[in-house]
Symmetry: C2
């Protein structure tokens, strides 16, 4: 049993109660606490030195990234963030300025999205610097967009550009909160998630949750400039766009009859952010990639981080 199988098995046996609408397995947990018109979104996520940032990453960017990752998960449910708690595990040799810098970056992003930072804990750690964020949000009752609603025939869309995030974007990305809420307000989204592990792996998760398949059109992939600049014969830019991870863009599906209307409306609403139709949902299962030579099963699983 590898770690993924273990975690999948554990996730099946977690205690539930009457508050749980959606538990483990989606971008956020969805809880019903009795609010007449809203459900609660609940998310936790950690960044660790040496895994999600480097020892020389500026503390402000570490704090910003820690919160931004959680905000991206709230966006993926078409929700609005409300309040965060911060846990920092600090190695013994930490400098006070590092903690202050982490909070500076985190607080600035929180203020940008009107998120309260309602408390924090600091604990000693014999190991690496770790920041764990807990985030509460809300979403209109039955307006949450899960991973599991994709239907055969849907068009598949992705915001922004993919690949090469580790060159810098992973520290500076904008959580697509406004975009996701606009999408959910104006279109009937069937399924959505935020791209954290790479399109290939994350699309596979979406189609598995939805019990469908998908075909991506290679020529439609919005490959980032960073990925193109770093492309080699071993790692072509399209592969980077499929597998690099940490894009934190929205991946979603809707009925293909809405696709052109969406593209037109998007260009007016968000003229500076690319929106690409990259393929379609198929009956069956698995993810396929169509290029000049035909349609092939996509074996790539995307960047596998241990989470």
């Amino acid at each position: 049993m590898n770690e993924f199988e273990l975690i999948a098995r554990l996730a099946q046996s977690l205690p539930v109660n009457e508050s749980v609408v959606t538990g483990a397995g989606d971008d956020c947990a969805v809880l019903d606490l009795g609010l007449p018109d809203k459900l609660i979104l609940f998310k936790t996520d950690a960044v660790v030195e040496g895994v999600h940032f480097e020892p020389d990453t500026p503390p402000e960017k570490i704090g910003r990234k820690a919160l931004a990752r959680c905000l991206s998960d709230i966006a993926a449910m078409a929700g609005a963030p409300v309040a965060a708690l911060v846990t920092i595990a600090l190695p013994g040799n930490f400098r006070a300025g590092v903690v202050a810098g982490i909070y500076d970056g985190l607080n600035a992003l929180a203020e940008q999205f009107n998120v309260a930072v309602a408390g924090g804990e600091t604990t000693a750690s014999p190991g690496a610097l770790l920041i764990s964020i807990s985030l509460l949000g809300v979403v209109g009752r039955d307006r949450q967009v899960l991973r599991s609603g994709a239907r055969a025939g849907d068009a598949i869309f992705v915001t922004g550009e993919l690949g090469g995030s580790r060159a810098g974007k992973h520290l500076d990305f904008e959580p697509r909160l406004a975009e996701a809420r606009w999408l959910a307000d104006h279109f009937q989204l069937h399924a959505m998630l935020d791209l954290s592990d790479g399109l290939a792996g994350d699309l596979r998760r979406l189609v598995q949750a939805s019990r469908v398949g998908a075909e991506i059109l290679k020529s439609a992939l919005p490959v980032s400039r960073a990925a193109k600049l770093r492309a080699t014969s071993h790692q072509p830019a399209a592969l980077a766009a499929l597998t690099d991870g940490e894009d934190f863009e929205l991946l979603f599906t809707l009925a293909s009859r809405d696709a052109v209307k969406l593209l037109d409306a998007w260009q007016i609403k968000f003229p500076r952010l690319k929106l690409s139709c990259i393929g379609r949902i198929l009956a069956g299962q698995g993810v396929r990639l169509r290029d000049r030579t035909g349609s092939h099963p996509l074996k790539l699983h995307g960047y596998v981080h241990f989470a």
Copy 2:
């Protein structure tokens, strides 16, 4: 600036929004999300190998303790827990059985208190095993008991027995959820917290938050059997009860005219759990200890863990 001053300063400058009723500085954050009759309690807490448990602590007990600490904080607000999220940072050499064991212990306690485990993340860690828990709870609107409401003349109470927790209780303690809710339902509590860092330090926090002072009667301290067994001339049992930490008992105050009525009602409701009146709230500031020789300022700050 030491770490406590730093964290106190940071806590003052956290972003807030209209949802925040009580932010950093109490046992839980208190949020108003618009529920007609309830407020939301939000708490996060981490346990780290080498700090809160040892490398040879059974995984089931680690998982149980991680959740129990957060449940104790919900108890300290007189709330009811609803749903938890679990983040585990795992060193590279972990065994699958450790993760399964952590969840076994945690899930069993969650089921005991009807808490949903609504999701979890596992991340790689170059350092020590760390478990961070996020917990959501609810409390009747304006029924939450803060640290800041103690008044001169109040009687000070503590549940259970104090000291020597590290001999075993810190892994097995019962969060005082039922007791705290019964107290808040039947008495006008003025202030409450859960004892995590030792009576001396935690009472100091309570009186500082309430802008009052306190006097403890040494002979009234409920010293645990574990503390008595381990007492030495350097570390008398009463000192252990004041400073050992990790007791996870309730410390609370109410008007002294309610004290006898409370003790009578408690003995009928919770005959197996000791409740002790250990002193009184004074005008002024600071914590004093009264023994046979008189009343002395208490210099001890309790077990100082870095949190």
